[in-house]
Symmetry: C2
């Protein structure tokens, strides 16, 4: 998606440790019109597939997932990072390692909202080594639902998570794939669109 | 908004301690089509007001805020509950007491995304005693931006936060106001729509 590459080049900020800050449009401030465009792109890529539900993870996956779901007219279920009194006790869970925060955390989805046989699209803002997406895939599997594919806003291709998922036969669509990131430049993998 | 009252009656579950679970459509699973309807309602209520930005708080405020912002074509900024390496160090912050979790926490908004003179609509999923909304209002004030009003999906009227804000002259629009909640019934305050 050329518009995502352009947005990263115009607004993204690279920091040491391969950190790309895109808080101006993706995970602190949300550029609503742009994210609706992203949602339309995801819907178009998966046009023709039956999708019953989008699964994502709080917080920064919610806006992209919601935008795609609004176009596709399907519900979103977002995995929670904390058990709260509002969450039922009957839960699917998976352990996810966060490199950003350098710790393991557990994510939860209530069994009420994910069912056997449902066809699920997994959506997130970033794909790096793929820990969050693998955790979500694990949970979808626990529910005996089916992963139709994944869609992410930004894939850090050089961290390998996306290609490792593709090697397992999982369809992964990324609006932009970054193959190299330096202090002065961001180099994207060529994609068909 | 009659549709919200109906949704609460059909899908909400009341638990001891005045807990209303609406995870099927508002804060775990997201009923996207319904939330877009809520977004349209909020946009219509504030039609005629200049609004530059919607401010909310992660996680459960994001979907409602995003839906309203998509209709109004304005950006969302969501306050974060954790400082992460992705967050700049130049922040507005406020301390919020959570009754659900019985603790104080600090919420942050980067100074990059909130500016003097901006006209802000504050949106959230729930309004009970009003701590989260007061924290957001505090942050908007620190930025010397202006609160045009607030919009929430569900107000627990019996907890007084909404009326206390209204008494201060702040416009608060709630899609449904619950005046009484028992094990068997939810009683709504009569509103014009």
């Amino acid at each position: 998606m050329k518009a995502m590459e352009k947005k990263i080049l115009n607004e993204g900020k690279v920091f040491p440790g391969n950190i790309l800050k895109v808080g101006s449009f993706l995970n602190h401030q949300l550029d609503t019109d742009f994210l609706m465009e992203v949602g339309r792109e995801i819907a178009e890529l998966y046009n023709g597939e039956r999708i019953d539900k989008i699964v994502t993870i709080e917080t920064s996956g919610v806006a992209v997932a919601f935008a795609a779901a609004a176009i596709m007219h399907v519900p979103v279920v977002y995995a929670k990072k904390h058990k709260s009194s509002n969450l039922s006790s009957d839960l699917y869970s998976a352990i996810v390692h966060s490199f950003t925060h350098n710790r393991d955390y557990t994510v939860y989805i209530s069994k009420e909202y994910l069912h056997e046989g449902e066809r699920v699209l997994i959506v997130d803002d970033f794909l790096a080594v793929g820990n969050a997406l693998n955790g979500l895939m694990d949970i979808v599997g626990q529910a005996k639902a089916e992963v139709v594919g994944m869609a992410v806003a930004i894939e850090k291709g050089f961290q390998g998570g996306g290609d490792s998922l593709r090697a397992k036969g999982i369809r992964v669509e990324s609006m932009a794939i970054i193959d190299e990131m330096t202090d002065t430049d961001v180099i994207f993998r060529t994609q068909s669109k």
